[in-house]
Amino acid sequence: MIDRDVATAIAKRPRLWATAVGATFAFAPPGWWHHPPFLPIPDADLMRWRVTTAYGDEETPIAPDDVLSYLEWRQRSAQGK
């Protein structure tokens, strides 16, 4: 679901890298370190749910701008605390 366009958009914005890493962990299933591949890969069901909520169906590719908006909001929220 996170395709090359999204990855490229994030890669071009170093100030969002740390936030992106935090978001990746937030979307990873609980206890991801107990199961192969032992990486915080976003929970597929959770992502499907969020994509369906955002676009009306689970097939629509995630727009890079939406991911950037989310990361910027997440960064602002973290700075506001």
Partner: protein, 212 residues
């Protein structure tokens, strides 16, 4: 039933002698209701729960045995599992007491932004906040975004689906009731529309998912 002050609504119920609220009257941390002698405590307890739900409060109700019991402090936070167990207060013989607990971590706000990024729903509760893009400004897609945002605040990781959203005009106030289905279970929550519809819907979702 029109929704008024929580205390007044509780004492107006048949079979309720008195009601005491702990903390803020709009967001109490505990509610104690003394029943009149001889009433069916289970039936009145259901009515009390209905009133609490109308006020957007989560509740756990216990009918205490008709004997004196020790006062236990009301919990400050229901997220603390040890604090959820119902407590009782000293009561006269043949009285029954209903102890109810309100959600102290209330849904603080639901905001909707429409702009270059489309429609975004933000929800806040305490230190937690959620950001969800909505597929539309109205209708089921928008409601689902509010459900998703509130569910995220509550740590839900499976998708609660909307089964129904009903709006009932009770004269002075409109009450929203939502039925959600999550992992084969149905959850119901209600809230009075006091500000905008998004916040009322968010509180109804909060009530529904908090009752799990």
């Amino acid at each position: 039933m029109a929704v008024g002050l929580l205390h007044d609504d509780l004492v107006s119920l048949p079979g309720v002698e008195s009601a005491d609220l702990d903390g803020d009257s709009t967001a109490p941390t505990g509610v104690r209701v003394r029943l009149a002698p001889g009433v069916d405590a289970a039936i009145v307890g259901d009515e009390v729960q209905r009133v609490l739900a109308l006020h957007g409060l989560r509740s756990e109700v216990e009918v205490a045995p008709p004997s004196p019991a020790t006062v236990a402090p009301f919990p400050g936070r229901v997220s603390d599992e040890s604090a959820v167990s119902p407590s009782t207060v000293p009561i006269a013989e043949h009285d029954a007491v209903v102890a109810a607990y309100a959600e102290s971590d209330v849904l603080e706000s639901v905001s909707v932004t429409e702009g270059r990024d489309g429609v975004v729903v933000e929800a806040h509760a305490g230190e937690t906040s959620a950001w969800v893009r909505a597929a539309g400004r109205i209708g089921p897609a928008f409601d689902q975004a509010i459900v998703s945002a509130v569910a995220e605040l509550l740590g839900t990781r499976t998708e609660p689906l909307i089964r129904s959203v009903d709006s009932r005009d009770l004269g002075d106030v409109t009450v929203l009731t939502i039925v959600l289905e999550e992992a084969g279970e149905q959850h119901v929550g209600s809230a009075a529309v006091e500000g905008g519809r998004p916040y009322a819907l968010g509180r109804a979702v909060w009530a529904a998912l908090s009752s799990r």
